[in-house]
Amino acid sequence: MTEPARRRTALYDTHVALGARMVEFAGYDMPVQYDGILAEHERVRQRVGLFDVSHMGEVRITGKDALGAVNRLITNDLGRVSDGRAQYTALCHEDGTIVDDLICYRISPEEIFICVNASNRLNDVAHMRERLSGEATLADESDAYSQVAVQGPHARELLQRVFGKALAATGAFRIRAATFDGAPCYFATTGYTGAAGAEIYLPNDRATALWAALMEAGRDLGVGAAGLGARDTLRLEMAYCLYGNDIDRTTTPLEAGLAWVTRLDKPEFVGKAALVAQEAAGVPRRLVGLEVFERGIPRHGYPVKHAGSEVGHVTSGTLSPSTGRAIGLAYVPTALAAIGTELGVDCRGKDKPARVVATPFYSPPA
């Protein structure tokens, strides 16, 4: 039985030429690492790294009631940000569980541009299409866009050299129209690493040129590629959720520490009733940050123990390259979610002591 051919981004040949180890992810051949996860992680924390995130999906909602239509689908409230702003949100099912986490870019009340997880793109589009209400149209533009993320302390300097001073000075969590090599693109000051920088959405036929321009312009800044492996250790140090690991169709945003993007005071949105009910009944469990001691490294699926019983499970874990701490995210009963709570993690049959700690696990320098 042949599996469907894996898709490639416009930068595939670039990754192979750089010696990347390619793996399948969401149906795409993606670079998991180039010179090593630790080296790439450090590159983003200390200098500047480039990520090919072209596999991500892009959806555009347009129409007189685009803002309202999107607001009725997502948990956050786009009415609370102005035009040109980005907003992180969950997309829920009627039962309150999370279909995806996404970034909505409010271009105008008549135009909302949404970046969705690669692995959920088809689901998200079907989910939204089935529930879209009011004068609004949904277009799946994923195949039209490549995306390059530029992240690190030197990202702003590098972006200035390629996009100019004005764009590079854009404040955080915004989207701006830009051009590269004569083609329209978006310059979005969003990211998944905790580092400063931007994500550039651009036509596929300009992706290799942009990558080359950034690599060339950033040589003295120490620019280099960074793959999905480093992307994961970077986001985990920031305690950002990864769909499929920390959030999915068994978790609600209230459980997952995403109450801050869940506006129960909005008039209506898909999942509101279920979430209001859960809040009223008391949210039974929480996603917390854990530090594990005695050389235990928490990993997805490892049981979390308290007083000899299994009380929860780890959803993400690693040895944090920037801090040297063994860190993870885990669901535990709300009664055990307070910072400082002593717990255990069963690491492949060995009970290791752990503690609920504050997140993020790492604070990028200002």
Binding site: L38, T318, R348
Partner: protein, 130 residues
């Protein structure tokens, strides 16, 4: 092309073994460290621990994963490379030298000789990439 020193013996679990005086020294191969990526932690066996050939005796962890270490031969652990506690990256940078994992006093004569030689392991690696 991963390195396969001619004077070592190898297992299908990508471990190497070498007679070193009275003991057999053991580690993971270049192919293994390359595929693991950055080694961030090694769980070593204890000195005095009994090992059975092909059974798990420790783990090697990368940022993203945990891999079991399988004993190439049976015997008793006579020494472990404690330097890997502070510097696990030696497994990547010098897997056949400073990145050695443990030394074993063999309990079964002939087990070491029964492992793949360099040519057989190289052929095995070629078959994996085919």
């Amino acid at each position: 092309m991963s390195k396969v020193p001619a004077d070592l013996r190898y297992t299908k679990d990508h471990e190497w073994a070498k007679q070193d005086g009275d003991v057999v020294r053991v580690g993971i191969t270049d192919y293994a460290q390359e595929h693991l990526g950055d080694v961030v932690m090694v769980e070593l066996p204890k000195v005095g621990q009994s090992l059975a050939a092909h059974k798990v005796f420790g783990t090697v962890e990368s940022p993203k994963s945990v891999s079991d270490l399988f004993a190439p031969i049976s015997g008793t652990v006579s020494a472990v490379n404690d330097a890997l506690d502070a510097n696990p990256e030696k497994v990547n940078s010098d897997c056949y030298g400073d990145g050695w994992i443990c030394a074993i006093t063999a309990s079964e004569a002939g087990e070491l000789a029964g492992l793949m030689d360099a040519d057989a392991y190289s052929a095995f690696l070629a078959s994996l990439d085919a």
